[in-house]
């Protein structure tokens, strides 16, 4: 009885299994015909741009590869990525933070070596340095773009008050005084609640003119200069003088508050990163332009923070390493650079091939490369490896200095003391 009952059931199961097997084989066949790649990024703001402009251009050329974009909020990206990589669930293509964050991933074997990707030759050593081992032998991410710091100003307010963009620190302060005396507008749109703007839009923005760009940055790494030296203390002194010109209650003002304050036309000057350009362009009736960091007294050469910010690498555990490398190679091409730079004005291509940028304000920013020397943020290479973390400290003390709760000298001393605790420069 039971035997007769079970026999047909068994064969039915067998048939089911066979069908399932056939289906899997079939699906395997489809997957082979069309490879799917996923990109993981902290630029969730750019998802639209990737999906509508950049990825279609690539997929038109490579119909057999389908690429999708997955964005995280910037502050959550590192934690999410590390967890996913450790768990083996990360995407095929990984957006690379510059320097140690990515170097750390490469050392742990999460990123593929990209030395042999053909389009890597389009990039200068400086551009590649952000994604190389310390000896410069292995490159593991394709450089994509840099961001430039400067000051964006509201043209209407400047016209109304009869102001011209300041060239020197003295002129800058004269302009601030005038805007303050008028009383209608906040002179500087900047808040310290999120802390990072104080370091990034403040310290790293105006700093290169004081420490002479790359020379100072390298001297700091070599241990020949210290944060307690005059140039660095002077940067903090300049920052400390901004307090009275910032908005009411700026200690509790967050980054989105600052952006709103400026785009609503209530503030005259916005210490900026070029990545803010697309946001302000979406605002109707806001006419704005930019000026480079004002020159401190007694300097003639100008330096700008032209920071390598974003690259792309291949997950070492990707199931489609060849397709992923094909995509990465395309990311290094002039075609990609042109698409990216114009879809996202404010992210500037690092490729040595000529790329035309159409956005006028982005043109202003990138135009500074002609007269000024470029450098990157001094806390990024090597110096943020230890405990306490220099970048985090820099956020905290820059915010303190702007808040007036720490003197410029004490801020500089805290940075150097933290660095001395673990960093022994090569002699």
């Amino acid at each position: 009885m039971t035997m007769r009952d079970e026999r047909p059931r068994f064969s039915r199961t067998g048939a089911l299994a066979a069908t399932a097997l056939a289906l899997v084989t079939l699906m395997g066949g489809i997957a082979h015909a069309e490879t799917t790649l996923t990109i993981e990024s902290w630029r969730n703001d750019d998802a639209d741009m990737w999906n509508k402009q950049i990825l279609p251009a690539f997929m038109a050329k490579h119909p057999d590869i389908k690429v999708t974009f997955k964005g995280y909020p910037p502050t959550e990206y590192n934690a999410a990525l590390n967890t996913e990589l450790a768990g083996g669930t990360a995407a095929d293509i990984i957006t690379c933070r510059p320097f140690d964050a990515s170097l750390d991933l490469y050392k742990k074997g999460y990123l593929t070596n990209l030395n042999d990707v053909p389009s890597m030759k389009n990039f200068s050593d400086v551009a590649k340095a952000a994604w190389q081992t310390d000896d410069g032998k292995d490159t593991f991410c394709m450089p994509m773009a840099s961001v430039i710091h400067g000051f964006i100003y509201n043209k209407k307010i400047f016209d109304e008050l009869g102001l011209t963009p300041p060239k020197t620190t003295k002129e800058f302060h004269a302009v601030l005084e005038k805007i303050k005396a008028d009383g209608k507008y906040t002179p500087i749109a900047l808040g310290t609640a999120d802390q990072w703007e104080a370091a990034t839009m403040g310290f790293q923005n105006i700093g290169p003119d004081y420490w002479k760009g790359e020379a100072g940055r390298k001297a700091l790494i070599a241990g020949k200069e210290k944060f307690t030296d005059k140039p660095y203390v002077d940067v903090f002194k300049e920052l400390a003088s901004w307090g009275p010109f910032m908005g009411d209650g700026y200690q509790a003002q967050k980054y989105p508050d600052t952006q709103n304050l400026f785009s609503l036309g209530r503030a005259a000057i916005y210490p900026a990163g070029s990545w803010d350009i697309p946001l302000f362009e979406q605002t109707k009736d806001l006419s704005f332009d930019a000026f480079p960091p004002p020159q401190p007294d007694g300097t003639d050469k100008c330096y700008i923070s032209d920071h390598v910010d974003i690259g792309m690498g291949v997950n070492a555990k990707s199931k489609n390493p060849d397709a992923a490398k094909t995509f990465i190679d395309w990311v290094g091409s002039a075609e990609f650079a042109g698409l990216y730079a114009n879809a996202l004005p404010g992210f500037f291509p690092l490729t040595q091939e000529a790329v035309e940028i159409k956005d006028p304000v982005a043109q202003t920013f990138v135009g500074w490369r002609k007269n000024c020397e470029s450098t990157i943020r001094n806390s990024y290479q090597i110096l943020s490896r230890g405990t306490p973390n220099l970048e985090n400290e820099l956020w905290a003390v820059s915010a303190n200095v702007l808040n007036g709760t720490q003197t410029p000298e004490a801020a500089a001393e805290q940075l150097q003391k933290g660095l001395d605790g673990w960093y022994k420069p090569a002699k």
Binding site: T75, N78, A79, N82, T83, F99, D100, A101, D104, K107, K108, G109, G191, T192, A193, D194, Q195, W196, G247, D248, G249, Y250, Q251, A252, Q253, K254, D257, N260, L261, S379, Y380, S384, R385, T387, P388, N389, L390, E391, N392, W395, A396, A399, N400, N403, T405, Q406, G418, G421, W422
Partner: protein
């Protein structure tokens, strides 16, 4: 007869192992072991390891704890977070519990109209997401767009306004009070439930004896809810020392200004996951988590042996 039956019962009980108990306990035991006990033990295990730059882990004993407590680069932020956490807890204990008690006492007034409506409204914030709470309060307190500045000015107190969330001296208190505002519903409901459970004859007898209402509250009703206050305290303690989300939502993982709102939860997050250029350090993070477990355990044991036993003794 009876003794024979009992003997038979006992022999049956001895022969048959109580399978049903195991069956009934199994689901909870398995789920709890898998999702609570195992991660807890694995965290403690991980805290005894160190990692080199390739991510290779090796056993280092209590090395992480020694670094955490003796290296000023670690111990300073750790004790700062611990101190802030104590203040966070103290504010909750004093403000949240007393407001919760007061609200419960008012709600349990026999002739209060619309008690159900008040109860629901007061409990509402507890059910909202911390992200929403953080967002709303930042807007209310914002020096740029917030209503608190105009509100104070309308009362003629405009000079009292300050960017409370951004100042070192006020940020932690402000965040704590926002958290109190959100969670005051929990002590309120627990104490309310205890208050309405007090038999009416006790109160009636006191009233007949001529005790005024306040006297009845202090001398009869309050002592009868002491055990509930104990439960509320321990819930608040555990909740506060595990807190993270509200501070993360409002002040970010670096919990500024200058670490003023950094509590153990945010300190753990930065250590374990890393932050900006700071690389994540899972083994040190596990050590911080173990310290948090230890702190909470000390508090809970103190409560269980020091407070709860006395309470039971007192009531018995």
């Amino acid at each position: 007869m009876t003794s024979i039956a009992m003997a038979a019962d006992a022999s049956v009980g001895r022969r048959r192992w109580p399978t049903h108990i195991v069956v009934f306990l199994a689901p909870a035991f398995l789920v709890y072991t898998l999702f609570s006990i195992y991660p807890l033990i694995d965290t403690i295990r991980l805290s005894l390891y160190g990692a080199d730059e390739t991510g290779q882990q090796s056993f280092i004993g209590i090395g992480n704890f020694v670094t955490l407590l003796t290296d000023p680069n670690w111990s300073k932020p750790f004790w700062n977070a611990f101190r802030n956490n104590l203040i966070f807890f103290a504010i909750h204990m004093v403000v949240q519990t007393s407001i919760g008690l007061a609200l419960a006492a008012l709600l349990s007034l026999p002739r209060l109209k619309g008690a159900g409506v008040y109860r629901t409204l007061l409990f509402m914030p507890t059910m909202l997401s911390v992200v929403i709470i953080g967002f709303i309060w930042q807007l209310i307190l914002s020096p740029l767009w917030g209503i608190s500045k105009g509100f104070l000015a309308a009362l003629g107190l405009g000079s009292l306004f300050a960017p409370w969330l951004g100042q070192e001296g006020t940020a932690l208190i402000t965040v704590s009070l926002i958290s109190v505002w959100q969670f005051v519903g929990i002590p309120m409901i627990l104490i309310y439930a205890a208050l309405i459970n007090i038999p009416d004859d006790l109160i009636d007898a006191a009233t007949v004896d001529g005790a005024p209402p306040f006297y009845v509250f202090w001398v009869i009703r309050l002592p009868l809810v002491y055990p509930t206050l104990g439960v509320v305290s321990i819930l608040t303690f555990v909740g506060n020392f595990n807190a993270f989300d509200l501070i993360y939502a409002m002040k970010g993982a670096q919990a500024g200004p200058n670490g003023a709102t950094d509590i153990l939860g945010t300190f753990f997050y930065r250590t374990f996951f890393g932050y900006q250029l700071q690389a994540g350090n899972p083994t040190m993070g596990a050590a911080v988590a173990t310290m948090m477990l230890f702190i909470i355990m000390v508090g809970v044991l103190f409560y269980l042996f020091g407070v709860q036993r006395k309470l039971q003794h007192h009531l018995a």
